[in-house]
């Protein structure tokens, strides 16, 4: 029998106690975090909202508008469709569309729209048009 094999029957070495303690803390921490999410509640439906993020960026004749999409609910929203419309004198002159594949509860994604008209020349409206419930 090797020393190693013998030592396996003996009480644990300090090294084994350290690794077991760290492992137990990791598993306990993960289980505790799942329990915390459970207790906190997880059933609020997805609530995707958009907001403009930063100034309009102009490169040549193109205008880049950055928008953040935020899911304020708990459930995941799938294929979130974000629509931007530029209106001048009550008429839509340009529109753009983007889709975010998955937006889980609390997640924020950033998308960029590209316009050929200067958004400052009219009124820019950005909204979430819809999403799938996975």
């Amino acid at each position: 029998m090797t020393d190693r094999a013998r030592s396996r029957r003996d009480p644990r070495s300090p090294a084994e106690w350290v690794t077991f303690t760290v492992a137990a803390l990791i598993v306990g921490g993960i289980a505790g975090a799942v329990a915390w999410l459970w207790i906190r509640g997880f059933d609020r439906p997805a609530d995707a909202v958009v907001r403009r993020s930063g100034p309009v960026r102009q490169v040549g004749s193109r205008f880049y508008v950055r928008v953040e999409v935020d899911n304020r609910g708990d459930r995941t929203a799938q294929a979130v469709q974000v629509v931007a419309e530029l209106t001048q004198r009550g008429e839509v002159v340009e529109e753009a569309e983007q889709t975010v594949d998955f937006l889980s509860g609390g997640e924020v994604e950033t998308v960029e729209f590209v316009f050929t008209e200067d958004p400052a020349s009219g009124e820019l409206a950005v909204r979430v048009a819809g999403f799938l419930l996975p």
């Binding site: 090294a15 598993v27 329990a35």
Partner: protein, 283 residues
């Protein structure tokens, strides 16, 4: 002295478990459907998956485990199972952070879901670690010598085994959309981290895990005599294998600027390096 040996053995056991988890867990860690399933799971589902993983790993720890010597008492099996699940979580966290599926901006629920779901396969890999290369450890490392080719043949056999191992693991990932998707979201400093992680994990699998004949490998034949040389040359072979696979599978076009395809090759290089290391131990 005994205490020092205890620490050395324990570190080796842990690295062996980590390497086993990587080998088994990598294909699913690079699967976007797994990221999505994890992202919209509820806490009761996560609790069930965690419990199920623990039961499976407990059974495997009884049969195999990742320690060099199998556990003899139920308390020891129980402790090994806790360690294997924890190691599976660490393996999952390492890879998911590396591919930027878990970042500081990831909501806690989503990050937790990804860790719990991916730890299923990674923990199973940890719990089977001592089985993976037991055969290699029992047999003399004689592929080169028996063939009578000496140093050169030994080196060719090692490099061939690296390429085959790299192909074996990376072929499950190369044709999928994950690599271009991950490559698009990465940055140069991050890629340097991917290179460093690939080299470190590859070195650990071959020279620290005690999987196979690493003592012999340290003194072995062949042009790649030094462990660091062997690790680096094997990594280059793994990268060339990845580039070849990505071209054949039409995922990259080498006529494009190199800045376009290099991130894909380096990202696929991580699973390929782990597979290549495993391949070298198998010969």
């Amino acid at each position: 002295m005994a205490a020092a040996n205890g620490w050395r053995d324990e570190i080796r056991d842990q690295v062996r478990g980590f390497a086993g988890g990587m080998l088994f867990g990598i294909p699913l860690l690079f699967t976007m459907e797994m990221w999505w399933i994890a992202a919209h799971s509820t806490p009761p589902q996560l609790a069930m998956v965690l419990a199920m993983t623990f039961v499976v790993v407990l059974a495997l720890s009884q049969l195999s485990g990742f320690h060099a010597d199998p556990p003899r008492t139920f308390r020891r099996v129980l402790a090994d199972a806790v360690e294997a699940v924890a190691m599976g979580i660490v393996v999952s966290l390492t890879v998911l952070v590396m591919v930027r599926e878990i970042t500081l901006a990831t909501p806690p629920g989503e990050a937790l879901g990804k860790l719990v779901y991916h730890s299923i396969t990674a923990s199973i890999g940890v719990a089977l670690a001592s089985q993976f290369f037991r055969g290699a450890a029992d047999e003399p490392d004689s592929a080169g010598e028996e063939a009578g080719g000496g140093d050169l043949l030994g080196t060719v056999v090692d490099l061939g085994a690296t390429a085959i191992g790299a192909m074996f693991v990376a072929s499950a990932i190369a044709p999928t959309d994950e690599i271009p998707m991950l490559a698009a979201a990465t940055s140069p400093p991050w890629l340097l981290g991917v290179i460093a992680t690939s080299l470190l994990v590859s070195y650990c699998v071959v020279f620290v895990s005690g999987f196979g004949d690493e003592e012999q490998r340290r003194h072995q034949r062949g042009v790649l005599q030094h462990p660091i040389t062997e690790t680096m040359v094997a990594y280059l072979v793994a990268l060339m294998t990845c580039a070849g696979m990505l071209v054949v599978l039409q995922r990259v076009d080498l006529t494009d600027p190199w800045t376009g395809w290099l991130p894909s090759v380096l990202l696929l290089g991580f699973p390929a390096a782990v597979g290549g290391a495993a391949g070298r131990l198998a010969v």
